[in-house]
């Protein structure tokens, strides 16, 4: 595993590290709540961040949350929570409520979006967002801003043509982009060896003349450090970087999947032991940045927040059926049947 040289500068402050841990925990506990709701029949679909929060939170904290652009994918609950999404936002979306800030209950859960937070709306087709991040970076560069864009994608998504086209475009124009591949070694049931003939996705970087970095995605501070370095390069006009975070998918692909059908029990146990949360917790306790009591207090605080969020979401209204017609185009439909119009029901006179 190639590792770039350490830099003290790239160490978040103790208080920031505790903050990072709080986001990690909030994402994990919110995700766990979604599964509870799924079993309880209140959430038809769940797709998890569990196991990948380190790569997500570690990278966001290394960036400028006041101006940078984010194109996450469906696992990135840790990314959007680090940017300011709340458990209530998430639970409303899982329950398809009108108040879901991502889509007003239109998209499946975990299809994140927020213009305010510069989280680019994602559809379900994998890897399309990687090109959107490149375009956002192009716009920032055109206006001479120092903002960069980061795209998150799974290792399976790297097989799409759009991934190749995005890396190529960004490198030709030396755009301020970071490509963050969360390699959990599975695409639903397809293992990495059937997805690509290489061990490290980062090896693709040299084919675009950009640096490629492999980082242990379970090491939050390492992710922070390499992301910070990539960001510095990007802002200095030195172009894009491909970062591959080796990580684990601790749950089945989604609530519709059962990974025991295609994965060895041994592998699952091994990965569960490498969970980022206990690992970062240990780090914080050892360095004395937090103590056991504080950590327990933090958990119960978050629990309380999620309980309140669950109740708020449960009591939040659904969209009106007719809301189906809204926001197809900017203007109201001049031709109802054509611009977001309904099925024709009127009396043919």
């Amino acid at each position: 595993m190639r590792v770039v040289k350490a830099e003290e500068a790239a160490q978040p402050s103790p208080q920031t590290q505790v903050e990072m841990y709080r986001v990690l925990l909030t994402a994990r506990m919110t995700d766990e709540r979604c599964w509870l709701l799924n079993r309880g029949g209140q959430a038809p679909f769940v797709i998890s961040c569990q196991g990948q929060e380190g790569a997500q939170v570690g990278s966001v904290f290394a960036l400028d949350r006041t101006q940078d652009w984010f194109a996450p994918y469906y696992r990135d609950l840790g990314v959007v929570m680090a940017l300011g999404m709340t458990p209530e936002d998430i639970l409303k979306s899982v329950m398809g409520r009108a108040g879901d800030p991502n889509s007003g209950g239109r998209q499946m859960p975990s299809h994140f979006s927020s213009r305010r937070l510069r989280i680019i709306s994602q559809g379900s087709a994998v890897a399309t967002q990687v090109l959107h991040a490149v375009g956002a970076a192009l716009a920032a560069r055109t206006r001479g801003e120092s903002a960069l864009a980061i795209a998150y994608v799974g290792e399976g998504g790297t097989s799409q043509g759009d991934f190749h086209e995005a890396l190529n475009f960004a490198s030709v124009h030396r755009l301020p982009v970071i490509f963050m591949v969360e390699n959990n070694s599975y695409a639903i049931s397809v293992p990495q060896n059937l997805q690509m003939a290489i061990t490290d996705v980062a090896d693709r970087a040299s084919g675009y003349g950009m640096p490629g970095v492999v980082v242990d995605g379970q090491d939050v501070l390492e992710v922070y450090r390499v992301t910070r370095e990539a960001a510095d390069r990007a802002r200095a006009g030195e172009g894009p970087t491909l970062i591959e975070a080796k990580t684990h998918r601790l749950t089945s692909h989604s609530s519709d999947d059962d990974q025991r059908v295609y994965r060895e029990a041994g592998e699952l146990e091994k990965e569960a032991k490498d969970d980022v949360i206990p690992r970062f917790r240990r780090q914080l306790l050892e360095t004395g940045m937090i103590d056991d009591k504080q950590e327990k207090a933090m958990r119960s605080e978050i629990d309380a927040i999620i309980d309140a969020a669950t109740e708020a979401a449960e009591n939040a209204p659904y969209p009106e059926p007719e809301d189906t017609f809204l926001n197809v185009y900017s203007e109201g439909p001049p031709f109802p049947e054509d611009l977001g119009g309904g099925p024709r029901m009127r009396e043919p006179e």
Partner: protein, 341 residues
């Protein structure tokens, strides 16, 4: 879920199969019959597909004939085209019809035009299977009906069965067809629709022929896929109200069975088309246009279309999902108004 998927279930079920079992049975029969048939797609191997359509096939026929591909639809179709040119009969699975778009260029520019551009020298015997349609909380990208894009393309055939009998018979015809066939399976029908399927016997259903799902005298209703069942239910209600409605299951949306469409309207004088796709520019428009062009002298009323609303796709939230999907009630309302016309 797994149970339903295995061909065992297929063998033990006595004549009655679900829609998905009929598809599984067609796949297995053709792979058994013809070594050149291969299956490729995302998760079709060890997992047996996200809907379990290919469950058990890799165990039976091995990894060279049942291939888990990388996550890239253009390569799934492009590789299938090349394999078809070199003697195989690939059955490619696109995990959801919504994700066929990255392969659009390979399907429309390559597969559809190969025979024509080589003046008949080359042909592409390939099937592309994909689950489509809504009503399963699939939201914007797991509910789409995309058939209209391909029904416009000369060189392609587009098949959409509504019953287990047709699903098996048409998939067999598609696999044996020398030209590229898109085969769309309604995901809500997979386990909801049951029906008779002949055991063991080798039958097939011809591509390009509609089926009269229900005879009628006062009105013709054209549909395909899940909508056929809603239309038949509505037609039965109409019967009680004294109106005899004919329901025509198009089964193939390219080529459309113009003869059957025209004959039915000439008989009844009234026409309604029901479909789930976005209303504007869909297959229903072509059906209506054929009727407007061919049946003018027989028409006793406007050609009515009931389609999905012209919004990007079916939303996730239950009230909006229900609102989007045309159902028996909505179709019935349109039938009543047309009958009263």
């Amino acid at each position: 879920m797994a149970g339903l998927g295995t061909h065992k279930t297929v063998e033990t079920s006595a004549g009655q199969l679900t829609y998905i079992q009929a598809i599984q049975s067609a796949l297995r029969d053709e792979m058994e019959r013809d070594e050149s048939v291969i299956v490729l797609g995302e998760d079709v191997g060890a997992k047996g597909g996200v809907f379990k359509v290919t469950d058990g096939l890799q165990k039976l026929y091995g990894e060279t004939r049942v291939i888990d591909t990388p996550l890239a639809e253009s390569s799934i179709v492009g590789v299938a085209i090349g394999a078809a040119l070199n003697g195989l009969k690939p059955v490619a699975e696109i995990q959801f019809a919504d994700f066929i778009h990255p392969a659009f260029n390979q399907i429309v520019s390559e597969a559809a035009k190969m025979r024509y551009r080589s003046n008949g020298d080359w042909n592409v015997p390939m099937v592309i299977r994909a689950p489509f349609g809504g009503g399963v909380h699939g939201a914007l990208y797991h509910s789409q009906s995309v058939e209209a894009f391909f029904a416009h393309v000369p060189g392609l055939k587009v098949v959409i069965p509504s019953t287990p009998y047709d699903a098996k018979g048409l998939l067999i015809s598609a696999i044996r067809d020398p030209d590229p066939v898109l085969f769309f399976e309604h995901k809500k029908a997979y386990r909801m629709i049951k029906g008779e399927v002949p055991e063991g016997e080798d039958y097939s259903v011809p591509i390009g022929r509609a089926r009269i799902a229900r005879e009628g005298r006062h009105m013709s209703v054209f549909a395909y896929g899940l909508m056929v069942h809603y239309c038949v239910a509505a037609a039965e209600q109409m019967e009680e109200e004294g109106h005899s409605v004919e329901v025509v299951d198009l089964r193939t949306v390219r080529p459309l069975d113009r003869g059957a469409i025209i004959a039915s309207v000439e008989k009844t004088g009234k026409a309604l088309v029901a479909y789930e796709a976005n209303r504007t520019g869909a297959v229903g428009a072509e059906v209506a246009a054929i009727i407007a062009e061919e049946c003018f002298d027989h028409l006793d009323g406007p050609v009515v279309r009931i389609g999905g609303p012209d919004v990007p796709a079916m939303p996730f939230s239950p009230p909006m999902e229900d609102f989007f999907l045309p159902d028996t009630e909505r179709i019935l309302g349109a039938m009543r108004r047309l009958a009263a016309y």
